[in-house]
Amino acid sequence: MSLFLIVALPFLGALLPGLMVQAGRRACSITTGLVTLLALTGLLVNAPAVLSGEVQTARLEWLPGLGMNANFFLDPLGLFFAGLILGIGLLIIIYARFYLSREDSMGEFFTYLLLFQGAMVGIVLSDNVLVLLIFWELTSLSSFLLIGYWKHTAEGRQGARMALAVTGMGGLALIGGMLILGNIVGSYDLTEILQNREAIQASPLYLPALILILLGCFTKSAQFPFHFWLPHAMAAPTPVSAYLHSATMVKAGLFLMARLWPVLSGTDAWFYLVGTAGLITMVLGALIAIFKDDLKALLAFSTVSHLGLITMLLGFGTPFAALAAVFHILNHATFKAALFMTAGIVDHEAHTRDIKRLGGLRKLMPVTFVIATVASLSMAGIPLFNGFLSKEMMLEEAVHTTWAGSHWVLPVFVTIGALFSAAYSFRYVAHTFLGPVRDDYPHKPHDPGFGMWAPAAFLCVLVLAIGLMPFLVEPLVFTVAEAVIGGVGEIEEGYHLAIWHGLTPALLMSGIAVVGGLLLLALHRPLDRAWIATPRPEAKAMFDRLMAACVGGARGLTDALHDGALTRYAAIFTVTVVAAGAHAFWTGNLVVADRGGAIPDLVPLVGWALLVVSAAWLALSHRRRLLSLVLVSIVGLVISIGFNYFSAPDLALTQISVEVVTVILLLLALNFLPKTTPVESSVGKRTRDGLIAVVGGLGVGALSYALLVHEFAFETISDFHLENSYKGGGGHNVVNVILVDFRGFDTFGEIIVLGIAALVIYAATEALLSGPVRARLLNWVPDMVRAGDAHPLMMVVATRVMMPVVLMVGFYIFLRGHNEPGGGFIAGLVVAIGVVMQYMASGFAWADRRQRFPYHGIIGAGVLAAGLTGIGAWFAGQPFLTSDFGYARIPPFNEFELATAMAFDLGVFLAVVGAVLLSLESFSRIARRSNEQVSDYAMDIDPSRNEEA
């Protein structure tokens, strides 16, 4: 089966449980199981080839420019992990089917589980580190959902949040580390990276990359000092704990360390960072586990401890240690998943997981007892169980490894770790199942149904099979270990996995551990009391304090910068930009002017003076709002003329027509707003604002000057447009051809945005008029004297006469647009102004009654016309918005040009007309509600006007 399909199957399958749960819980779980089974089968089909040394690949270019491609490869290591993920996943699904109660939403649970499964399979099969990172984050997210599955419990929510915060933080660090690694090698493909051991280890960035990657791995695999999240994640339903927190997700960090082992390991930094963190985690986790009363917490810390063991082995950096690590990953996955399942069974049946309330379950739950015993003895490292084999290898390797020049540090500490490990394993069985039967269980326990214990029993069969006949898995373990080592070293010739290696130091250490473990169990009661009495740092409290400090700091910063005062944001923004500009100016180099330098004539200078005076006056007397409106329109007018002067007739036409509609709009708004701005800020504040404004203005002015007097730094693309305007676009007016042809897609987006803006205004007005403002408007008393002749005769007559002329001009501007200044934008604005003049002359109501087409429709028609023109190109086999033109002749007229761009421009025209008029109409509606007298006549004089007023 294609690797793509194997990775995609769980994700696609995640759509099913939510649907299938309608058909019942059985159908739901069977579907989920089948999805996993299918993926597993697909994987196993590839297994023979992979194990014989053939690496399967599947490659798909995704974003080659970023070096990000959906490349997957399947080597023995990937196969091993994917097999664990899917195989144990299948068992967990069966177990969860019987574990979840009727109140739990099974569809939701299995959806999350499959999402998680897909993400995990993605991690282990990715050949591209960027894709791997995406899957890595997906596991964090899906495990967040799974841990917090019981949303009603506070522990669930807090545990999920803590897991997400810790693993998410590690994920961020990992991104940094992986990017550095990819940069050193020059490729983000793992297969490529794995070939470059020397280059990576010689790079000065090796250490930062290593630390960042290890942060990611340690947080994910709960290594000291990030081990604290895992026990809190135990608030999850037990199937989740068994799956994520024993067999799969926490092993993702181990997987990555194993995957990158050939290029990262073997240095002192690797040995001390990874080896030491692993050792500390192993001993510390085991110690805490002894004194945990919650069965799942006990198992959680034991998991932490075993993950530490594997990490330590990977940290040793020798081929034999890698072999032991791989073997222990396999063994741990089998016995730990089984143990979690037994913990879940006990909780399910006895309604408690508190070990102090349990005991004597041996007679009541014989099947569970047998399963738990087999798995525990394996965890304790008793011969004939598989845990023993890999633990012996670990002890053996520790004996031969020196730590900081000392021969005894590692052997002593690993023996202590193994001793603690034996102690909690024994305690798990002894305190839960042995002893007298009690009569105060919260619920009378008995063995669960077959479906619930079968998966755990199956794992126990594996535990025993591997423990008794290690040669069964030997080829697999060796092949996977060789894939980890990746040719950097060789496993000792002639070594075999075996129960008996002779009287070795490791056997002695094992013996000490087992005897010591039994001793600790016997002494548990007094030791437990002492443990409880000893003060210990509480990881959760520390984490909470750290989080609170971070949140407080972030909130403080946000509140200081973002306190709801727009003025402050604007000031901060301006000052920051000016500072950045100043920095660029001082550190950059300024080349001498190489263009321009013409002396302006008198007329442009007059225009300039007019603009500068108006702008300055505007700033000084902005409190008189009507005056500021007049001044701003002077500025706009000068700019329109300026555009015309500097060879931009299209811009001049557009600017002046936009100016007209903007001023009308602002006048409509000013009708309701106060007519003056009160003095609020002190002189000091105004001086400060003035200073900011002047500095900003100087900066922008200087930048503008620098831009104007320099030739282009890059070759301009304008020449292409000029050359092809007529040849390819059939138009003389290059600006218009750019708008409707070369950059037609832009313009298409543009008119849509304009239409949306108009609809927003319409919607805001509607909301306003249907809300409490309505009453306020109805009682509106105008704060200025109304004109006696609201609809003056002169104006009415003039606008009526002008209307056809305006329409004619608009039509003319529209038609000539392709070759002469003009086009849809300008024509639209001109026609809109023609209609607005009617509103002004005879009032909104009068004009509205004579307006037949709703403006929304006009906007829609415009966008539709432009879009259909674009789609039309498809029928000619061309990409969207490709234009065409030709010449036609209707006698007796001259030959004229027909271009599809004209239909597009028509769309622009309609959209602009609709948008402008809809905006103005919306504003007028507010005015109309405010008790404005609606006249039925085109012109009228208000006789009630008081002359003295």
């Binding site: 306190d563 709801g564 005062a565 727009l566 003025t567 402050r568 604007a570 442009p604 300039w608 500068v612 702008a615 902005h622 500025v635 706009g636 700019i639 300026g642 500097f646 060879s647 931009a648 557009t654 936009v658 509609v661 903007t662 602002l666 708004a669 707003l673 009160p678 609020e680 604002d689 003035g690 900011i692 404004a693 203005g697 100087l698 922008v700 002015g701 200087a702 503008s704 000057y705 831009l707 104007l708 304008s718 138009g731 003389h732 007016n733 290059v734 600006v735 708008l739 832009d746 543009e750 304009l754 803006a757 927003v760 205004i761 805001a764 007005t765 306003l768 809300g771 403002v773 402008v916």
Partner: protein, 115 residues
Amino acid sequence: MEAMVASAVGVLTAAGLYLVLRLRTFPVIIGLSLLTYAVNVFLFGSGGLVVNEPPIWHEHDNSYTDPLPQALVLTAIVISFGMTAVSVVIALAAYLSGDDDSINMTPGEAEDDAP
């Protein structure tokens, strides 16, 4: 010529920034308009200042101004109308429903409004 246009852009920016830093909606809207002018002229100027050579293609005539900034600025002008209109309607709605056209939240108001 270049100094003239550049200084005009600078003055428009300064006046616009000063108005944007005011405390009421109307001056801020006017200030935004001034900033829009400044930005448009700035972008327009990136093609260089050319007098009397409009970007209309003619055979046998090779003197044009740069059409590209013009096309970009043309749409920018039209869009700026949309932007002004939306900010005006927001300002108006805020004033009509709150009887206050100040642009800043008063201290403490942000917390009260939080859901």
